[in-house]
Amino acid sequence: MNHTTRKWSLRLVVILYLGLLVGLPVGYLFIKAFSNGFHAFWIEVTKPDAIAALKLSAEVALIAVPVNTVVGIGAALILARRKFFGSRALTLAFDIPVAVSPIIIGVALVLAYSRIGWFGGWLISHGIQILFSPIGIVLATMAVSLPYVLRSVLPVLIEVGKDQEDAARTLGAGAFRTFWQVTLPAIRWGVLYGVTLTIARTLGEFGAVLVVSGNITGKTQTLPIYIYDAWDQNYDTVGAFAGALVLASISIVALIILSTLRARERKLHVDLA
């Protein structure tokens, strides 16, 4: 087998594998969407339950994304700029949510904070219910989307180095000014990258939310759960499909943003793991 045939056969194998595994399903999703027609799609996504699910998903994202962004940047700053006992353990702890099944995260939250959990008695006596409530959904979502900002910002922060911050200090700038005017502009693409990943993960989270939400239609259904429910309980394939299309479109927009950012800054890698 000579060099050219080898090159072509490898190329062919790779294209076929990717085409069949990824291209076919994703392509099918969009072809099917167009064949159903926009009108059918619009009717499905404007159903009250669908709208309620969309709204809850958006609300959860509005809480989880800012909190995780602040925590992620803060943790990245501390890990990149300070050496302290336990810093390695802290980095590892941030990775737990990607290494553990979302179902387990859900079970874990229930066993810690629901009526049967460690702190359930106290929480419920103070009127805070975690299981079957939006609070539980927010907690679950925050847990699974925790690592992404840290993972995107930390390498950029290390790469940029400490010199610009030191320079700002010698010029008289305080901690806040240094952060807002020097550090943040230097890492802004990394932050944006991490935030985009966090949003994508937040809107798409399914397993952990399913366990804690109790799946109450119109009340504790996020968009992914609505899709699951439409299919699994109501055999409403058209509705499930319409919901899937909304989520898929959001994630493809996110993907485009991510690759644009990556093309801009070669420092950014897909830190999936």
Partner: protein
């Protein structure tokens, strides 16, 4: 004295990177801290700036004990080895940063920035971003940024380290000239003895965290206090069992008061010629001389020749 350091010590773990440094730096001087890499010279500079916190000792600037003062309150101009430009700000905004921190009115800032841009010869570049500047231009921008706050002391960390040879030579002259104009007490860190000798009026030789010797360049060159200083400040060779500068040796025809030997190798480096001689005692010192001196001897490899210490005329 503009800066005085007493018993200044910085340890990383058990290693003392800066070890009990006591030094007085005169007002308005241009002092070079010279030492091999890892000698603690950059750390010393950061201790003066407050970017590192000393384990022991005091830093006093113009009579003011600043040891426990945050760098932002020290009134120090610091130029980083890689210049640390604020990449997302243009040249004018970089230079004006310290003035904006000090809440100066806009017209004052603009005037000062314009003045500095002229001083560091970056006219026409005020709207450029650091990425669009050459290494030398970035360096001058960093200098202007540090000077904008009218610092009590200017600290330069390996200011010419990252530049190519020609730009380097120009900038050295320029910095020397600039210092003559503005007279601010300046400390620069370098590992290049030629650079230190050329630019500075005071030298501090550092070795393994300690100050080996301090003083004027010629004094250190002529009367080194330690073997390390002697070897670090210029080339040395061994003659009659002692370390000596090769330009303090000369070739002679007659063996009177000299040691006999044969020429082992000749290296012609333009104006300078280095002749290595194998002597009768087995040593092989080398002699540094000018091209014209060398011509007068008409020696070749293996010619018999004698070597003696140069007699002062």
């Amino acid at each position: 004295m503009s800066i005085s350091l007493s018993h200044l010590t910085k340890r990383y773990g058990d290693d003392a990177v800066v070890d009990d440094v006591n030094v007085e730096i005169p007002e308005g001087s241009l002092t070079a801290v010279l030492g091999p890499s890892g000698s603690g010279k950059s750390t010393l500079l950061k201790l003066i700036a407050g970017l590192e916190i000393p384990d022991e000792g005091r830093v006093v600037i113009e009579g003011d004990d600043v040891t426990d003062v945050d760098p932002r309150h020290r009134d120090i101009g610091f130029c980083f080895q890689h210049y640390a430009p604020f990449r997302h700000m243009n040249v004018a905004r970089n230079i004006g940063f310290g003035l904006r921190v000090r809440k100066q009115p806009k017209d004052v800032i603009d005037a000062k920035v314009a003045e500095l841009i002229e001083l560091v010869r970056l006219e026409g570049k005020s709207k450029s971003y650091p990425a669009q500047l050459s290494g030398g231009e970035r360096q001058r921008m960093a200098l202007a940024r540090a000077l904008a706050i009218e610092p009590r002391v200017l600290l330069l960390d390996e200011p010419f380290g990252a530049l190519d040879a020609q730009v380097r030579a120009e900038l050295r002259q320029w910095v020397k000239e600039l210092h003559r104009q503005i007279k601010v007490t300046t400390i620069l860190v370098t590992h290049d003895q030629d650079e230190a000798m050329e630019v500075a009026d005071q030298l501090l030789i550092m070795h393994e965290g300690r100050i080996e010797q301090a003083g004027e360049p010629t004094e250190l060159y002529e009367r080194p206090a330690t073997e390390f200083v002697h070897e670090f400040l210029g080339p040395t060779t061994i003659f009659k069992g002692a370390s000596i500068r090769p330009h303090d040796l000369e070739l002679v025809r007659s063996s009177e008061g000299a040691m006999e030997g044969t020429v082992q190798s000749i290296m012609e480096l333009g104006f300078e010629v280095q002749v290595t001689v194998a002597l009768s005692d087995g040593s092989t010192p080398w002699v540094q001389m000018s091209r014209n001196e060398f011509r007068a001897f008409e020696v070749a490899t293996n010619s018999p020749i004698s070597v003696r210490e140069r007699v002062a005329k």
